[in-house]
Amino acid sequence: MTPLLTVDGLDVSFGALRAVRDVSFTLDAGECLAVVGESGSGKSVTARALVGLAGDGSRVRAGTLEFDGHDLTRLREPQWRGLRGRRVGLVLQDALSSLDPLRTVGAEIAEPLRVHGVEPRSRRADRVRDLLADVGVPQPQLRAAQYPHQLSGGLRQRALIASAIAAGPDLLIADEPTTALDVSVQAQILDLLDRLRREGTALLLISHDLSVVARLADRVAVMYGGRIVETGPGRRVLERPRHPYTRALLDAVPALHAKGARLSAPTVPRPHAGRDGCPYAHRCAAADEACRTALPAVTGPDAAVCHHPLDGEESDRTPQKPHATARVAVRDREPHVEAGTGGSPAAPPLLEVDAVSKGFRGPDGAVHHAVREVSLRLAAGEAVGVVGESGSGKTTVARIALGLVPPDAGQVRFEGRPWSGVPERQRRTARPRIQAVQQDPLGSFDPRYSVERVVGEAVARAGVRGRAERLARAAELLDRVGLPAAVLGRRPGELSGGQRQRVALARALATSPGVVVCDEPVSALDVSVQAQILDLLADIRRDTGVALLFISHDLAVVRHVSDRIAVMKDGRVVESGPVREVFDAPSHAYTRALLSAASPLPAPPPAPLHRTGPA
């Protein structure tokens, strides 16, 4: 049987930039191939090239590009249009911007039916309703008549999938289909995609999220620097990676790890490879001269394109081992955890949030209760995680803790003194001792400021006088967060996401605070960069004894960082306690749902592993 889709030697370039180089794979009906990689790896460009949408100024070349017997290399735009939507469906990441805001959801879904003449006008409405019901949208009749902004993120994504599958395509290309979604909604979308695949649709899944890939993919192709560096059956690649990059990518995912273990490999800058060399050579510990000059030949459908593939023992990442280490690591920390939770006189809480509530008046005049009677305590040196889905009120809690939003009820105490309900003038002197790191560091820097001024302002607030002294202290702080002093003269806009977050961290540490409130500090970052920042946070905590209030929607990240966690839903804390107890024996139904929805990697471990509980 010939494969549904055959790609051989696909090259996409934008001027001098070669975004995709020599990419080859095949895809059968009912099969799911996942293309994995960090941003800039060329995975999205690959997917778009397959539907003739590589983009402005792109140049697409391929040895073979064949879909169900059609040679795609010969297609002109009108023929592409006949193919897109009819035979190949495309689901994009951002459902809100992919759906036309001026058309109802029903009109959007009916469009491929109309354009491709699949269904006569009289039957279209029925078909749209069936499709919406198919993708699990409740009240399909009502939803079809609504506009995209009236639907939640999960429903929008389903509507988008409904529109992509409306004409019954044989191939569905999903580019980061769940990235913007909360974990429980994500699980539903993945179930839907899985069902479509079982019904015979071929699925090309583009994702940077390995837990998503682990759930769906039959085969995985790992991309780096525009090339496929490893390909093979999903389980094999995720459990016994052969390419060093795949290994590093898997190691960077916190879920798999012993709490407190390092996530990122130590990076020693190495020379970049030549034009034909391995794109990963400059980050790879095993790289040698051979890697920099040429790539080994690709061998078969289950292979790593590497001169020094990992094998056997060193590549084995079956779950038992990390879990064993996890126990040890957690036990090491236990006394610390107890000090934080017990509230013993030896360690009075640094930050006390006591039964705070906050409501916001919506445009329609109705009050939305963002936070209801939330209490948190943070002892010196402790890390408390707050986890919840979007809209659960966790960011409002962070802002109340920072004294930026006054609570409607309840009170906050910092360093034993009232923090809420007092004039700003009174808070001001204590402010340097409680700092923040935001999700979007760029927005937290004055756009006119260089890194030197951003960090320098905080250094000056810490009482350092004199320009030379301030500069020296700023350089020292940058060094602390792993940035060279050369960054001082740059503007934050010129830095990468990871570098910006390091600058934000340097600024937060400038005043030697007792508490740093981190609101989703890593959720905008690639998994390997995220790993570096999480490691950095752990180092800083160890060295400075700073307490962290860590807000995130990502259970694995929160678990990795925190001693204790609080789970929030609809503005309330539904469960809280030491991280191990909450994860091993969740008592609230919502926590259990969150945990089961966030599938760890690889494939969900059997239930007993969760139940073993604290000794």
Binding site: A54, G57, R74
Partner: protein, 294 residues
Amino acid sequence: MTALPTLETAPQAPADTAPRAGRRPRARTLLLVPALLFLALLVVAAAAPGLFTGAAPNATHPLQALRPPGAGHWFGTDQLGRDLYTRVVYGTRLSLLLGAGSTALSVLAGAALGLTAGLGGRVADQVLMRLADVLLALPPILLALLAVAVLGSGTVNVALAIAAAFAPGYARIVRAETLVVRRSGYVEAATTLGLSRAALIRRHVVPNALGPLLVLATVGFGSSLIAASGLSFLGLGPQPPTAEWGAMLDQGRDFLQTAWWLGIFPGAAITLTALVVNIVGRQAQARFTRRTGR
């Protein structure tokens, strides 16, 4: 190996520029150089008109009245035999000063009012902005006329009148920017550092809220210039025999049927100056937007 036909037509697009930003900015840059040169010329003419002409602007030669443009008089002469070229050159200073002065005044007033509305309490905001609404409902030239009616005619009063007419627009923009900046992440970050309110406003709010205004003012200069010329044309600005473009238009009005040059040259000076300032202003705006990502 078969080459796939490229779907888009620009295979040579450089990788570091967004493909969409291809043609238009280059066209703008093309105009920028001559615009800047002309602007430099205007400034020199305003500072030292004697460099461009040896004649005196107010010297009358009744025997040479209403001569068409030619070798002796490049722009011709007016009804009193004054050399029009000389008068246009000498008129540059006052015309530019009127435009720049009134723009500066309106920007200053607008910035002060906008910042007060954005940073003051809700009462100050409501009062100032409703007032701005009322003033914005009237065309600026009408407002300026009203102001001149109250203040009386004259060069300084025209500048004040135009400043009053354009200030509400600037105030609106500054207030909106101030509100955005106040809620921005960097002001929050500075608050978290424990900066005093005064330091916060001085270091972060004011510079960021006023940044776009300075660029807008360059563009607004053109409008002010035209408005000032308009008021002069109505005889409300500089009084004869002062050489000023608007006033010159007014004085040439009665002879337009027989002496077209009396209208064309001062008019062209006004139009070209406004155009050139606009080109430079737009370019500055584009650069500013690119730099700050707004």
